[in-house]
């Protein structure tokens, strides 16, 4: 896959309001370094993350998706993250079967005090995405009848 030398992956992050978002906040205030590739979307709970969010992000051209919530047992709403876990697990496995690279979807547990872990997750996912290259899964290819977008 050809790619521009200065290409940087774009990463959508669905972070739970109570843990991971606060963790990301702490990473900022404590001046931890992590790649600026992530675009953070605050959700009330990781259980709010519909598999459609992940699909829509990939469809819109995000190169990867991070879903992050409280550690098991720590959910503000008791069970939201357990439900998220089942959903993300089947979504990830199913997309891998269809041919989406496993690096594109990452789920993690990050608590409000784990700024270091948040930075680590983002760094690692970004590195993984640089290996697999831009997300061209849903881009128009020549000959499928629709208007083709020229890829470099």
């Amino acid at each position: 896959m050809k790619q521009k030398a200065d290409w940087e992956p774009r990463l959508a992050g669905f972070l739970c309001k109570w843990c991971s978002y606060a963790g990301a906040d702490l990473a900022g205030t404590s001046r931890k370094k992590y790649p600026a590739n992530i675009r953070i979307i605050k959700v009330p709970c990781s259980g709010r993350v519909d598999p459609l969010f992940i699909l829509k992000a990939l469809r819109l051209g995000f190169d990867g998706v991070v879903v992050s919530g409280c550690h098991p047992g720590d959910c503000h709403y008791q069970t939201g993250n357990y439900r998220a876990r089942r959903r993300v697990a089947i979504t990830k496995r199913f997309l891998e079967y269809l041919g989406v690279e496993p690096q594109r979807i990452q789920a993690s547990w990050v608590s409000a005090s784990e700024a270091g872990k948040f930075a680590e997750v983002v760094t690692e996912v970004t590195r993984g995405l640089k290996e697999v290259g831009p997300n061209q899964l849903f881009t128009e290819r020549q000959g499928d009848g629709a208007k083709t977008e020229k890829q470099d």
């Binding site: 876990r85 089942r86 993300v88 041919g99």
Partner: protein, 315 residues
Amino acid sequence: MEQRLRSKTRALLEQGKVDWIIGFEPGSLKFTTTPLITKDKNDTDRLVINPFIVNNLANFLTQVKGRVGIVVKGCDSRSVVSLIQDNKVAREDLVILGIPCTGVIDLSKIEKLVGKDRDELNDIAREGDKVIIRVNGKKKEFPTTQTLFDNCLACELPTPQEYDILLGEPSSPIANPAAQEGIKKLKQMTPEQRWIFWEGELSRCIRCYACRNVCPACFCQRCFVEETEPQWVFPAPRWQDNLIFQITRNIHVAGRCTDCGECERACPVNIPLRSLTREMYDIVGELFQFKAGMDKDAPPLMTHYEEKEAEDFFR
């Protein structure tokens, strides 16, 4: 078996134990059946059981009101159980008439084997593990493994799991590993090849939503594809959105899909949808040891959790 079904259903209607009977009657075309949904006890004489009872009647359960007597095969009974799990129907409102299934005949396979159109065939009959076809006075024999639907060949539980009346002796699975070859072939491809395969298949999709409408597990009042705010699936006919529809449909029916194969049969452009549903069925089995429609008292898959499971997806 057929006579027993007719007398039982007639008695159920006469005694007022059920308001509706849902079963199969002969279709208008040769070798077909069509769903019969009736309140009239005289209609029960039209009920049939033969190797062409292809539809999953559980789909109609949510569409009639009152107590229902329903005719089910193995896979359909699991769809019924999964509707009970989801509180879509109440067990006490149902009289389940189970048919120990021996597989349903795929007419397109027969046409290929004989080389003739279905209208030209005189008779198709099951005898043990053979299918006997009569054409122009000649008799042709084929093993059943060549004539049944793929999902019947992969069927693990042909006998209904939940029933009030079982019409006949329990049947044993046919279990033919060749039925899974399509999925095996797909798994051997590289991710990129697989994606291109699905692109090719789903660019044919005309989004008629027959797969959704025929599916007993797809019971939402309003489907996400019809949402406009936010618009999950763009209405223009792009294969990307067709794929998103199929992926999400499969995620939504995870833990409800019993691999009955109705979506694939309903598809007017022959997209191999069972390669999707079967994979989701296997993923759910592998990750959560969950089989759809086995236990009517178990909670539905996606509303439940265990403290420790699927942990390798998270860091």
